[in-house]
């Protein structure tokens, strides 16, 4: 990678390259690739952040965070991303990332349109197949897509524009600096040419290295609200997800799963009878259950329900929430003493000035099930395999599938389809791997879809965790904040594990010896307050569950525990929660968003008893966010009737401000924050899974209470702060932590009671009848024509 700063450039120059615009620019190297049409390319490693020194400081993420880590993981790979200029004047780009609604296809089209001087609608962004040569650089996670791809994509686009200008110069006889590229047309002194007309002329027979300059301000597309490029397809039903694809002979396939979590098949008693059922073509036993392939998914459901299977118990058979919580409690590590923190040296103890606030929170299991359940198409043949699925780690998926079906990795083609939501779920490839095994066992192509009941009960979720906090203060000063987070293991086997082991050497001193989860924790968790000695630790235990990230990893829980204690500290010192935060925050960007929500949300306005405001902040993904909520906990609101729905306290207003550094698409950002707010509300108030006697209870969206229309805040204001750093930050997960924390703080202030577990309704009486475990799938109703409106 070569990055030349302006001074360096000027020193090398004879002055003939003066910049008429006066805008600051940086130079980068890229390539024109040999081909019949113009192909411009850049190295993904350009996305790596400039190496920075690691001064001593209390919080590691302030200096080097998970996104630096994910981005730096690109360094060892020297592989190219390519933008192709087509002869119809459009630009094509296969993004090596997974789109699940987070808006990266649209923002990527915007970035290309910006540099190429093309209208956004003339940029076609598709999702790249698995490209094993990209190694770690095809992982979609940690809200890192734009952070890591922004520079390489711009470089490739700028190289393409340069080549088009040169070609136009040759054809028109005008000097390049007399040409103007705009809207996909290059205007010369007398004539103009379209990019389509130039695509072949600009092509190079050989691959050549080129240098380009990127502007750092004066954007035309970046920073403007752009509607999603797939919006029309979404509202007309044309958008295709894995189960919408037509692959020859890939018939509907489902799996009958065990009545205890992760149980296995001992014996299928009535296999012959199942094969004779209407529509059924194949039955096969795989390691996850009994698979059935049929003409329709409805007939798969009927077949699964009719199966008589003898099962081996899963690893948590007979256990319930409390057993798992007891295990966590046993694994908790004692928080450091005042002496260990060095506080005894202050001599305040003897004066009786040192006071302590202790807090202990439990966060129950939550599901990251998306609307589009785990699904994949697999066609496994003797000598090759082809897979279609929404995959955020397609390279790892390809390797594991190859291993499972006994093929070399390069014989497995993995297509990344659009996913109907991810929330962490598609970091894994459970359906793709299972579909491949089933296809191999049946010797036929299969279209595997998990039933909602399985997706909810057996699919991955956020692990149960506890968070203990001790805050030590004297007078108006916080002397120390220590937080011990103890969690059921979060599964990172989607490939980040390899990434870590490969990149441990690049970590700041002292982190290399941490375990993997501890590393992620250390790189993501930050206490941005001046709270003296800050110690945050993670202990993980218990690997028996199907876990994953869930629109953040640790942050919403850690942040919520933290902010509740911040409120308690403020109260103990007789200060207003907002003023206390303002006084103790040490980060300007976070302070700015905090002040913004307080101002817009009219912090401190008088509200009736039983209702209250709450305020919280979060700092992650190269950005800062703050959230102010108003909650109504009055009985008439809490108990408002909704058929088979959970009502409870209502968040009536949310004001959310985010500074992402450089907003690419403010409209997309607003959408992500609105979604994150609804996630935060759900995690604080309503949504959790209950382990009972060896399995999770929740098998439907009427069992697992994600935010519904009737829980959505009537007023939601999202404020996208103006550009602050010139570098884009993350968006997909950035809305959740401050929202969850603010809701928790508001609830505590409205009710006068600080919750000790989340969601707050976890122990409430359940408003539904538990669906059967044997058979594992509920029958489809037949009364639909009686319920029309």
């Amino acid at each position: 990678m070569t990055v030349l700063d302006q001074n360096h450039h000027a020193a090398d120059d004879d002055g003939s390259r003066a910049r008429p615009s006066g805008l600051p620019r940086r130079s980068f190297l890229g390539y024109v690739i040999g081909g019949s049409t113009l192909i411009a390319a850049a190295d993904m490693a350009l996305g790596a952040s400039p190496a920075s020194a690691i001064p001593s400081a209390p919080s590691i993420p302030e200096l080097y965070d998970l996104n630096d880590f994910l981005t730096d993981a690109a360094r060892p790979t020297a592989n190219l991303i390519k933008i192709v200029i087509e002869e119809d004047g459009t630009a094509s780009f296969a993004l090596p990332r997974s789109e699940n609604g987070q808006g990266i296809v649209t923002s990527t089209a915007m970035i290309i349109a910006e540099e190429l001087e093309l209208p956004v609608e003339k940029v076609n962004v598709t999702l790249a197949d698995a490209r094993p040569e990209l190694l770690f650089n095809q992982l979609t996670g940690g809200s890192n897509t734009t952070i890591s791809t922004y520079t390489p994509i711009r470089v490739a686009a700028a190289i393409a524009k340069g080549a088009l200008l040169e070609a136009a110069s040759n054809l028109l006889g005008d000097e390049v600096d007399k040409l103007v590229a705009k809207g996909g047309v290059i205007q010369g002194l007398t004539k103009s040419l379209t990019y389509g007309e130039l695509a072949r002329e600009a092509a190079s027979a050989t691959t050549q290295r080129r240098e380009v300059e990127l502007k750092e301000s004066g954007f035309r597309v970046i920073g403007t609200g752009q509607r999603r490029t797939d919006a029309l397809a979404a509202v007309t039903g044309a958008k295709e997800y894995a189960t919408d694809l037509d692959v020859a002979d890939a018939l509907p396939t489902m799996v009958c799963r065990a009545p205890t979590l992760n149980g296995t098949v001992r014996n299928l008693v009535n296999g012959r009878a199942i094969l004779e059922m209407p529509g059924v073509t194949d039955v096969a036993i795989v390691d996850t259950g009994v698979a059935v392939r049929a003409r329709t998914f409805g007939q798969c459901i009927d077949a699964v329900r009719a199966m008589q299977v003898e099962w081996n118990d899963g690893p948590v058979a007979g256990l319930s929430d409390q057993d798992i919580l007891d295990n966590l409690k046993k694994a908790e590590v004692a928080l450091p003493s005042n002496k260990q923190l060095g506080l005894d040296k202050l001599g305040l103890d003897k004066l009786g000035l040192v006071k302590t606030i202790d807090a202990d929170f439990t966060f129950y299991f939550r599901s990251n099930s998306a609307m589009d359940t785990n699904s994949a198409i697999a066609d496994v043949r003797a000598d090759s395999a082809e897979i279609w699925a929404g995959l955020k780690s397609p390279v790892t998926a390809q390797a594991r599938i190859a291993e499972a079906v006994g093929l070399p990795q390069d014989k497995v083609t993995v297509h990344v389809t659009q996913g109907g939501g991810s929330f962490g779920r598609r970091l894994f490839f459970d359906a793709a791997l299972e579909a491949a095994k089933i296809s191999k066992a049946m010797g036929k192509p299969v279209k595997l879809m998990w039933h909602r009941a399985d997706d909810a009960r057996v699919g991955r979720g956020h692990p149960m965790a506890t968070s203990k906090i001790k805050a030590v203060y004297a007078g108006k000063e916080v002397l120390a904040l220590t937080q011990g987070h103890t969690s059921v293991e979060t599964d990172y086997r989607h490939g980040l594990g390899d990434l870590i082991s490969a990149n441990v050497a690049s970590l700041p001193t002292g982190l290399g010896n941490l375990g993997f989860a501890e590393t992620i924790f250390a790189l993501t968790q930050e206490v941005p307050y001046n709270f003296g000695a800050v110690v945050q630790t993670l202990t993980e235990t218990d690997d028996r569950f199907n876990t994953a990230s869930m629109r953040n990893i640790y942050s919403p829980d850690v942040r919520t525990a933290n902010e509740l204690v911040v409120d308690q500290l403020a109260k103990a010192m007789g200060e207003d929660p907002f003023e206390f935060r303002r006084r103790t925050l040490r980060d300007e960007r976070t302070l700015a968003v905090l002040e913004k929500v307080a101002e817009v949300g009219d912090w401190g306005r008088r509200l009736p008893a039983g209702t209250a405001q709450g305020i919280a902040i979060h700092k992650e993904y190269k950005g800062s966010s703050a959230c102010l909520v108003e909650i109504d906990c009055r009985p008439e609101t809490v108990n408002r009737p909704i058929r088979e729905g959970v009502t409870g306290p209502r968040v009536t207003r949310v004001v959310f401000a985010i500074d992402v550094g450089l907003p690419i698409n403010p409209l997309g950002l607003e959408a992500q924050m609105q979604g994150g707010i609804n996630d935060g509300i759900a995690q604080a108030l309503t949504s959790s899974m209950h382990l009972e006697n060896g399995h999770f209870v929740e098998a439907s969206w009427d069992n697992y209470f994600y935010t519904r229309q009737w829980n959505t805040p009537p007023v939601v204001d999202v404020i996208i702060m103006p550009e602050t750093t010139g570098v884009p930050g993350g968006a997909g997960e950035a809305g959740v932590a401050a929202s969850m924390a603010a809701v928790a703080c508001a609830y505590a202030r409205a009710t006068g009671e600080v919750p000790t577990y989340f969601p707050i309704n976890h122990k409430a009486e359940r408003p539904f009848e538990v669906k059967s475990y044997e058979p594992p799938l509920p029958a489809s109703p037949t009364n639909g024509l009686k319920l029309t409106f």
Binding site: T236, G237, G421, N678, S700, L777
Partner: protein, 159 residues
């Protein structure tokens, strides 16, 4: 197998399939009409919401044998054709204007439910209310509810 006959998006279809197969699977797996999405199969998530004779229904909960020959099913693919002109339905236009969709998976069902809700209110001689909208059970796991509300109110004004 019995021959099933009904109308989908204005065209008569004939399907050779058992009576108890739910309409959702007949549409998706046999007829290739993929706009209605599977989200639960038990009439909870409402991702498959379509119209039967102009009213919202969930094809995951209707055996195909229950459909009569003259029953007309409209899926998201056929919604635009239910209004005059070559363009989209006003509710789809509102969805585009508010940029409602994120992953988009639930949105066909959301739009079909919204259209039926607004029609029902109009038939009752009134405007759709926030209370009506809050009664919609369609799940959106991306949490686009805020924009769905705005789009329904905007679409209703144009309907």
């Amino acid at each position: 197998m019995p021959m099933q006959s009904f109308i989908v998006n204005g065209e008569r279809v004939e399907v050779d399939v058992e009576d108890d197969v739910r309409v959702l699977w007949v549409l998706r797996d046999i007829l290739g009409v993929k706009g209605p999405k599977y989200g639960c199969g038990i009439n909870v998530c409402k991702a498959c919401t379509s119209h039967v004779n102009g009213k919202a229904f969930n094809p995951c909960a209707v055996p195909v044998g229950d459909l009569a020959e003259d029953d007309e099913i409209t899926t998201i693919e056929g919604l635009a054709d239910t209004v005059e002109g070559d363009g989209l339905h006003p509710m789809q236009e509102a969805w585009l204007d508010r940029d409602v969709a994120q992953c988009g998976y639930c949105q066909p069902g959301q739009i079909m439910a919204a259209v039926a809700l607004v029609r029902k209110a109009k038939e009752e001689g009134r405007q759709v209310t926030l209370g009506d909208i809050e009664g919609l059970r369609n799940i959106c796991r991306c949490g686009t509810y805020t924009r769905i509300r705005e789009a329904i109110e905007q679409g209703a004004r144009a309907m």
